[in-house]
């Protein structure tokens, strides 16, 4: 085995790891072939293509994972058990583009991918779970007219997800990020004939776009402050993020505010002025982290952008399992882990992450309590579990949060696939999507669908945190760390370096609040999962009356249109799904049960001194950077094995068992009566939960309504103000001018001719008058000047060339030129008189002054003109661009002395 890995290591060097290209391109190839040629290939070939491409990709991921582990082991043994940096294999494609940072500094962005322990683990989950779900889909989607389209989208999704996971820089991650969003959009609206599905897809996309806005802003900020988008470079240069960012006020100077400041009479105004101009500060790291987190909130469906995920269940169930439970929605958690070095610099941002996470966990769990649609329950459960993950990464337990991603992928995928299996069975008689997945139509299925039942049960136990299941280990670790972690400000004196601005730290009440909210969410989770499980598989079957040897009538293919529970509908026995669907269930169910032993920290409570946490150890190098900044240890926590840890484990075990127990009591032993009684006793609470706190309605009214109003206003402005006023004014001017000018257009030829003759007569008059024009030539340097009179028919000329005021000759002659010389600083007035053939005369004076220093001639072309004064020294130098340099400017006093 080692020899084989050695061979591979030689074949695939760390900086030219072409295996990544294979992993990435296989799904893309599958997507292309299926999408373009799918309809011609037939369903068999399509599913084969889809499966094979993902299988190769999965195999590649396994190899990459093995190589990473092998390299880490080698490095670990070399450095006595402590790996300093994470092993990373890189594959560079090509330079994608170059951005520019401050001062023209270039920021190249490469199409480059890298695999390190974190992304390897994620890639394994994506391709592994993806493979299982592909297998499941081959049967689930059988007979759908869009079969090839489905597989194309699904493969494209795997590709995008792998781009997201393996991207070496933030832009690549963003490409994958939007790619998965796009696939999600396409797959939610897969059955687009139903308008609601398409609307749900659009909602998902646009909500995600709100998050993407944050990511784009974060990228722009990172370019500006760090000058790189590469994860490695960002982590290495993260000290640049510890700068002060005064994000308010955003303007430099506003006249209105200046005016307000001067109004000392009205104290209100100056108070307001004081408020609005008080600068608000934060560290760049905080803003960047929060902007990134906005993206995560959108993608991972956290408050306040979670609203798209429940609606996204409109897509086919395997899609819900793969995209909206196991992989895509965890991308946010992955990104926080990936950017852990940045997040860790800002305890405030970390607290926001943790708090948003745990609030979402409780909030979504409370909604899930009363939902009847099984996929909706699972959707809210997903939101809630994602909240747990954010709680984990928010308190600095990145490995724990990420481990929950992995285990959640197992059990939530299993749950969704199980739900899909149930819906598949229900489709025997009930075809309406809503009715087929309504808890009120289900029940007692454990008798008919044993495989589904057992795997579902395993996953329910896991998600509820039943001891020793996967969910127990991951969730308990998060809760324990929430209680015991402490996040310090990364600078010793608590001030942003170089400023006096204090960095916001982690609140003292933080850990306990987070922990107890987490416990509450855990209890709720256990309860509603119990309710879901019992509602589907226990009790009596409520879908239809089961009739032996049921024969569907031709017209009987109506799909339980009433949809209401207890509709008089007859049908056959619900049947277990085919093997292709149950095998993935079994695999995932098994993983949900035993997957936790990959990271069984909690066993230390039972077995003192126990340490076996391969996942933690594997991922530790990735998060090593985030743990401390320089000398300051940012993330610290009480070590496992202590009393506190034991207490935490105890509390979470009790929480899980209590939730499950209450559910069993209410729904299995009492048939749900206590729940109904409670709902009748506090109807408002029930209504709030059932209507999901009316958040969708509020969103419809407040943000969407606002934008809608704005848009209407904009349309009004466009039509009436811009088009009406601007066009109206100009057309009015033109109309008035036209009305005036029209008066001159009589349409009578003679009038036009008269106008023409008047014009011609004017020209003739001009020619009849004499014009004493002359050209003057002169050179200031030599003092020679000359005048040449303009010629004219019948002109006679007489001059006063010496400037003595008397004509040189009495009569008019034909002399047209005069020449004379002037001394420096002398002037002369030359007169010229002209008489024409009609005896009309015209006179003109010409002033000549020879300056002391010749006036500079404008520099023509590229000549450098140097002017020399009488003394022989250079005075001015005229450069080719027209600039003049005065070499020595004589002062007036000096002038006088001379």
């Amino acid at each position: 085995m080692d020899a084989l890995l050695h061979r591979l290591e030689v074949l695939l060097p760390a900086d030219e790891f072409t295996l990544l290209a294979v992993i990435l391109l296989m799904p893309l190839l599958g997507a292309f072939v299926n999408g373009v040629f799918g309809r011609r290939l037939g369903d068999q070939a399509v599913s084969l293509m889809g499966l094979a491409s993902i299988a190769i990709s999965f195999a590649g991921s396994v190899v990459a994972f093995a190589l990473l582990a092998f390299a880490a082991n080698a490095a670990g043994s070399g450095e006595s058990g402590h790996a300093a940096a994470a092993t990373t294999f890189v594959w560079r494609g090509w330079e994608w583009l170059t951005l520019s940072a401050r001062a023209g500094y270039s920021v190249p962005v490469e199409v480059a991918f890298s695999i390190d322990p974190l992304s390897a683990a994620m890639a394994l989950v994506v391709t592994g779970v993806g493979l299982l779900i592909h297998l499941y889909s081959t049967k689930y989607m059988e007979g759908d007219p869009g079969y090839y389209r489905f597989f194309s989208y699904l493969n494209l999704f795997i590709f995008s997800m792998l781009v997201l996971v393996l991207g070496k820089n933030l832009v690549m991650v963003f490409i994958g990020w939007e790619g998965v969003g796009l696939c999600s959009y396409l797959l939610i609206g897969f059955w687009f004939e139903d308008g609601a599905n398409a609307a749900a897809g659009k909602k998902a996309f646009i909500t995600n776009r709100v998050g993407d806005f944050g990511l784009i802003v974060a990228m722009a900020m990172l370019v500006y402050y760090v000058g790189s988008l590469d994860f490695g470079t960002i982590a290495a240069n993260r000290s640049l993020l510890l700068q002060d960012l005064s994000y308010w006020p955003p303007w430099n100077r506003l006249p209105l505010l200046d005016w307000m400041q001067t109004q000392s009479d009205w104290s209100v105004l100056s108070t307001v002025h004081g408020w609005v101009t008080t600068p608000w500060h934060a560290s760049v790291a905080t803003i960047v982290a929060l902007a990134l987190f906005l993206g995560c909130v959108g993608k991972s469906a956290q408050i306040p952008l979670y609203v798209w995920l429940p609606d996204a269940m409109a897509g086919p169930t395997p899609v819900s399992a793969l995209i909206h439970a196991a992989t895509m929605v965890t991308a946010g958690v992955y990104l926080v882990c990936r950017m852990a070095p940045v997040f860790a610099l800002s305890p405030f941002a970390m607290f926001v992450v943790a708090f948003v996470g745990v609030s979402t966990a409780v909030f979504a769990a409370s909604i899930a309590l009363v939902q009847n649609d099984i996929k909706k329950v699972l959707a809210y459960s997903t939101i809630s579990q994602l909240g747990f993950m954010f709680l984990g990464v928010g308190v600095g337990a990145f490995a724990a949060g990420f481990f929950h991603v992995v285990t959640h992928a197992f059990f939530k995928a299993c749950l969704f696939l199980g739900a899909g299996s149930v819906i598949h069975a229900m489709h025997a008689r009930i075809h309406a999507t809503d009715a087929a997945q309504d808890l009120r139509n289900l029940g007692g299925l454990r008798r008919f669908m044993p495989h589904t039942h057992w795997t579902f049960l395993a996953s329910v136990l896991a998600i509820a945190g039943f001891p020793l299941t996967a969910g127990f280990f991951s969730k308990d670790e998060i809760l324990y760390r929430a209680w015991t972690s402490h996040l310090a400000v990364p600078v010793p004196d608590g001030k942003i370096p170089g400023t006096t601005v204090t960095m916001t730290g982690w609140p003292a009440w933080g850990p306990s609040v987070l922990f107890w909210l987490g416990v509450a969410a855990a209890v709720l989770t256990a309860f509603y999962m119990g309710r879901l499980y019992l509602g589907i598989f226990w009790g009596e079957f409520r879908g239809w009356r089961i009739v032996r040897r049921f024969r569907p009538r031709a017209a009987g293919h109506h799909d339980g249109a009433s949809g209401a529970p207890g509709a008089p509908l007859e049908g056959p026995m619900p049947r277990e799904s085919p093997l292709a669907m149950t095998v993935p269930l079994m695999v995932l169910g098994a993983l949900a049960l035993v997957g936790g032993f990959l990271n069984p920290h909690q066993l230390a409570v039972l077995i003192p001194g126990f340490h076996f946490a391969p996942v933690d150890d594997f991922l530790a190098p990735v998060f090593a950077t985030a743990q401390s900044f320089g000398e300051v240890a940012i993330i610290t926590h009480t070590e496992a094995g202590s009393v506190l840890a034991a207490l935490a484990v105890g509390i979470s075990v009790v929480a899980a068992l209590a939730g499950l127990g209450i559910a069993y009591f209410i729904y299995a032993m009492r048939g749900g009566t206590p729940a109904r009684e409670l709902a009748e006793r506090v109807p408002w609470l029930h209504r709030i939960l059932l209507n999901r706190y009316w958040i969708d309605e509020v969103y419809q009214e407040v943000p969407i309504g606002t934008v809608d109003t704005l848009a209407s206003a904009a349309v009004w402005v466009d039509r009436w103000l811009v088009d009406g006023v601007i066009a109206g004014i100009s057309s009015g001017v033109v109309r008035v001018a036209g009305t005036v000018l029209r008066l001159f257009q009589t349409g009578r030829v003679q009038v036009y001719a008269t106008a023409m003759v008047i014009g011609v007569a004017g020209v003739g008059w001009f020619f009849a008058l004499p014009h004493a024009a002359a050209r003057a030539f002169g050179d200031d340097d030599t003092g020679r000047y000359s005048l040449t009179a303009a010629p004219g028919l019948g002109y006679g000329y007489r001059w006063d060339a010496d400037g003595d005021g008397a004509w040189d000759s009495d009569g008019f002659g034909q002399v047209r030129d005069v020449r004379f010389t002037l001394e420096r600083e002398r002037s002369r007035t030359v007169r010229l008189e002209v008489e024409n053939a009609f005896g009309l005369r015209s006179m003109r004076r010409f002033e000549f002054t020879r300056p002391k220093v010749s006036r500079a001639r404008p520099a023509a072309g590229r000549n450098t003109v140097i002017e020399i004064d009488e003394a022989g020294g250079a005075r001015t130098v005229t450069l080719p661009d027209g600039r003049k340099i005065e070499l020595e400017a004589p002062s007036p006093a000096e002038e006088g002395a001379r």
Partner: protein, 206 residues
Amino acid sequence: MILAGIVYFAVCALVVLLGAVGVVASRDPIRSAVSLLASILGVAGLYLKLSAEFLAAIQVIVYAGAVVVLFVFVIMLLGPDAGSRVEPSRARPSRVVGAVVAAAVALAAVLLLLPRDHGLTSFGEVPAGFGGIEAVGGHLFTRALLPFELATALLIAAVVGAIALSRGRGVIPKAPPPPVNPTARMFGGPVHPRDAGRPLGEEGMR
């Protein structure tokens, strides 16, 4: 010899101006045309005095021989309608303007003929070949070639325009278009089977 030159100029100028007055003043257009002929011939005479022999010939051939004849043709074509009516003579601003301009020119003439101490502008010696067909043609076909070609285009346009105008819309009925345009042959028959039998240029019109 000098006297002959003076007389020649005076006669020619007189013919020109009297002819011009005749053009304007005659009520009958045919008299105007004949006066125009006289005036034009007078101008040709002045050209000769200015050593512009070639232009003088052109003046006689083109103006007297073609343009005036064209006028006469048209006048004959119109017959008695071409000016038998007495023109309305209202005092119009154009008449006032005309009178003023004429008076100004007359004044200028008087002023010009008064003696001056610096004299008049002499023409000087005539270079050899000046105004001959060789000189004008050489200039025309070298430096003024482009305008010359443009002038031919203008003349063609004028011919076409004159024909188009005088054909008259209402007089000659429009000939029906031929069933198939001959250009169809040039490009291999009807453009599309769909259009067979329909005139080209309308194919595809729905």
